[in-house]
């Protein structure tokens, strides 16, 4: 074996680029956040312009802060720390640049398309299918660059931060691809391949784990690298970090169904989501304590060092958010908090406190090192910290108060639970308006703090010379014994025994008679054999694990298996449930062509962001909105529209509640009908024409996806849509509202009036519900 001493210059240019992009997009994303929060207080701030309405800007806010701000910040942190932890320059400058510019192009494309109303209609997954493909390609570029760098590393061991990065790359790829599977109807529009309950489950499997594996695991990796660097002492417990990693990876992926508690989601999935959410308390708090205790002996520096301040507060907010999350996943707590501002408060505790403060700490730590100049003003950074902290606390206290208040009011009943105490939804909305205003102030303060950061970093780097870090390493030829191929990974005692035990447990659970008994016995024998084998070959088991940890490819494969199993077990059984022959006592009637056009307008305008279509199995929900929603009532919905927030009332049974004229007036000027409403006006629906020509492709795609449409010709579709539109226009004229039948408002009214209509069916293998 020959050793050679070489000097490696890191590619810090890419880190600087991502850092600056993160600051820029952070300002944009937070500014849009303050604007949409203002729109909820002052409806005039929607300016009667389609591309400035809440329903279109809210996805811009969420996508900007998640994928543009945290995404760029994450890439900066991952690239900086990985190069140093593996003592190797990034494998390819070309791939690094392609990653950076490709990601920025995606962000710009999102910033253009979302205000135009080009959306898939799924939260945090709104981007249209051509951009989805671009995201997948650029993510593969990131993965290739990252794993190629690991393959060329000069440090054999993989620090725990790298494990978190691997889990992020693998899991986000899996989640993103599955949740974005769509069939295009045109260059700018598609329908998700999943529908109804299956779409709901896939969406929140993705949505929850976007939080877990985009906003949490990479930032935990960053925490495990940058907190020790800033505190100038090693992580408190490396043991705890290993437990933190494996527990989180195994548990997180299962918790998605907690977003659908008390809904039509099958009970076993709700139980699964709740159980695993509660289990998350342990690893999350283990990680938080590990981060905080790393500051042991350095607490006095928090008084003066803004970097440590941000890190300490950021990790604390991680602990708070991960305490609150499982709490909200308890079914009874969820019955109060779901669909209210409490959830918004919970999310922002994580994003503003954890992501935002960890990002700020990292930026303040990195800038002086990447430009070789001390921070322009630590005092300004300290001011940023206090303004930001006050902003977060105002925001959170406002949202907690607002959410719990509205939840209590909406659920309150009189006369032994038979009558709603606040039957008018607007009563609850008017009560929480002061809190909604306090949110604007809190968010505004946080934005001001972040602008101080932008100014401080700008003054730090203005005129400074950018420098790339270097390191001298002894390049060793890796011993052949440390390599672990795919065969050695899989053909090992731990993996074989695990597979056998799982297999025989399945035989025990699903077999009948003797097979069932044999499965149980075989599983027990395997466990005993595994223990015996371990006792005899403990060293070999240990060696296998140690070699696994220094071989990134097998490690990545096992991480993928860990997260994929959780997803598959949740999603595959719902494929059998979400079929017309296997619903409860009701089945959705497919939308007519005009109703489908109206539904697409509903999705385009982002109505689902404020209105749910899911009446939960809770007494107050049923008293307020009507009979609880059945599994079959959304079976043909691509995408599902169950929603996640009730800024306005649920619309699942809106059809037929009011005459056409009511909807006409309400969409033109909501306050003429509902005094105190904060809904935007939609005047353009009265001047834009419905795109009937697009319906042929849309209906064909939906038929391919299993919606029972006949093989209509374009002429038949056109006739059906026109006839229904003329009928609605005639009805409106009779109520003294004049509108041409081809206007969008007519299609939207057709859709709204259909909501809640169903055909009764006799459930498969069971008596119908009464």
């Amino acid at each position: 074996m020959s050793d050679q001493k070489i000097t490696i210059e890191y590619n810090d240019r890419i880190v600087r680029q991502f850092l600056l992009a993160a600051i820029l997009w952070g300002v944009v994303g937070m500014l849009v956040g303050v604007i949409v929060a203002s729109q909820l207080n002052f409806w005039q701030a929607n300016f009667n312009l389609p591309w400035l309405t809440f329903g279109r800007l809210r996805p811009l806010h969420t996508n900007a802060v998640i994928f543009a701000f945290v995404g760029n910040m994450m890439f900066a942190g991952v690239y900086y720390s990985t190069q140093r932890l593996v003592k190797a320059r990034l494998a390819s400058d070309f791939l690094s640049s392609l990653h950076f510019w490709g990601w920025q192009a995606i962000i710009v494309a999102a910033a253009i398309t979302l205000p135009l109303g080009l959306t898939r209609g799924k939260e945090y997954a709104e981007l249209i299918w051509p951009i989805n493909i671009a995201v997948a390609v650029i993510w593969v570029v990131f993965a290739a660059n990252f794993f190629w760098t690991l393959a060329r590393r000069n440090e054999p061991s993989l620090y725990v931060a790298i494990w978190f990065y691997i889990a992020t790359i693998i899991t986000v790829a899996m989640l993103y691809i599955v949740n974005h599977l769509s069939l295009p109807t045109s260059l700018l529009h598609s329908y998700p391949v999943f529908g109804g309950v299956q779409d709901a489950l896939v969406q929140w499997w993705y949505g929850h784990n976007a939080v877990a594996f985009f906003l949490t695991t990479p930032i935990l990796g960053i925490m495990y690298y940058f907190v020790p660097k800033a505190a100038e002492r090693p992580i408190y417990s490396y043991r705890l970090s290993v437990i933190h990693f494996w527990s989180l990876v195994f548990v997180y992926i299962w918790a998605g169904p907690h977003h659908l508690l008390n809904t039509a989601l099958p009970g076993w999935l709700q139980a699964l989501g709740m159980t695993f959410s509660l289990m998350l308390w342990a690893p999350s708090w283990g990680g938080m304590l590990n981060g905080l205790l790393t500051l042991r002996g350095a607490w006095h520096r928090l008084r003066t060092d803004p970097v440590l301040k941000f890190f300490a507060a950021g990790v604390t907010f991680y602990g708070m958010a991960t305490f609150e999350g499982p709490l909200l996943a308890i079914k009874s707590v969820n019955a109060l908090g779901h669909y209210t501002d409490w959830i918004i408060g919970h999310v922002h505790g994580g994003t503003l406190g954890w992501n935002g403060f960890m990002a700020a700490g990292m930026f303040y730590w990195l800038a002086p090192r990447l430009w070789l100049r001390p921070l322009y003003s630590p005092a300004l950074a300290n001011l940023h910290f206090w303004i930001g902290l006050v902003g977060i606390l105002l925001y959170l206290s406002a949202m907690w108060t607002s959410g719990i208040t509205q939840g209590l009011m909406l659920n309150a009943t009189n006369e032994g639970g038979a009558v709603l105490a606040y039957p008018n939804f607007l009563d609850t909305l008017n009560t929480i308006k002061p809190m909604m205003l306090m949110r604007v102030i809190g968010g505004g303060l946080y934005l001001i703090g972040f602008l101080l950061l932008a100014y401080n970093i700008w003054r730090t780097i203005a005129g400074a010379q950018a420098v790339n870090g270097t390191v001298e390493v002894f390049v060793e030829e890796r011993a052949p014994s440390s390599r672990l191929g795919l065969h050695a990974t899989v053909a090992s005692a731990p993996v074989i025994f695990t597979v056998l035990v799982v297999f025989f447990i399945c035989v025990w659970l699903f077999g009948r008679g003797m097979v069932n008994l044999l499965g149980l016995l075989a599983a027990m024998v395997c466990v005993i054999l595994a223990i015996a084998h371990y006792q005899a070959r403990a060293r070999k088991w240990g060696e296998w694990y140690d070699r696994l940890l220094v071989n990134s490819a097998p490690f990545a494969v096992l991480t993928f298996l860990a997260v994929a199993v959780g997803g598959l077990i949740q999603i595959i059984p719902t494929i059998t449930i979400n079929r017309a022959a296997n619903v409860e006592d009701r089945r959705e009637i497919p939308w007519t062509p005009l109703e489908l056009a109206g539904r697409d307008l509903y999705v385009l305008e982002g109505c689902y962001l404020c209105h749910s279509q899911m009446i939960r199995t809770l007494v107050p929900d049923v008293l307020r909105y009507g009979d609880y929603s059945r599994l079959g009532e959304s079976i043909y919905d691509h995408p599902f529209q169950w929603g996640s927030k009730r800024t306005g009332p649920d619309l699942a049974r809106e059809g037929g509640k009011y005459p056409h004229a009511w909807h006409f007036d309400h969409l033109l000027a909501p306050r003429s009908i509902s005094v105190g409403s904060i809904m935007p006006n939609y005047p353009w629906l009265f001047s834009h024409d419905t795109d009937i020509g697009a319906l042929k492709n849309k209906i064909d795609v939906l038929r391919t996806l299993g919606v029972p449409y006949p093989a209509w010709s374009p002429a038949e579709i056109n006739t059906a849509a026109t006839d229904q539109a003329k009928q609605i226009a005639r009805d409106l004229r009779a109520q003294q509202r004049l509108v041409a039948p081809e206007r969008e408002i007519v299609a939207l009214i057709a859709y709204l009036q259909k909501l809640g209509k169903f055909e009764p069916v006799t459930p498969h293998g069971s008596a119908a519900a009464p």
Binding site: E232, R239, Y628
Partner: protein
């Protein structure tokens, strides 16, 4: 008022099995890390501190 028709009673085993599997894996990981050699742990824990010197050393 409510009558939810449950077709998938047998699937209630999934949360139980998944819970058991996750607990078993967590226990295995805990057991493993408790038996990791102290020297290896210290070396791994110090990895972030092995690279470039703190900025203050370069400027002051």
């Amino acid at each position: 008022m409510f009558q939810r028709v449950i077709y998938e009673n047998w699937q209630l085993v999934f949360p139980i099995v998944a819970f058991g599997a996750a607990v078993a894996i967590c226990c295995a990981v805990v057991w493993r890390v408790v038996h990791m050699p102290r020297g290896q742990l210290d070396r791994l824990a110090r990895m972030p501190l092995d690279d470039d010197p703190p900025i203050s050393d370069r400027h002051e």
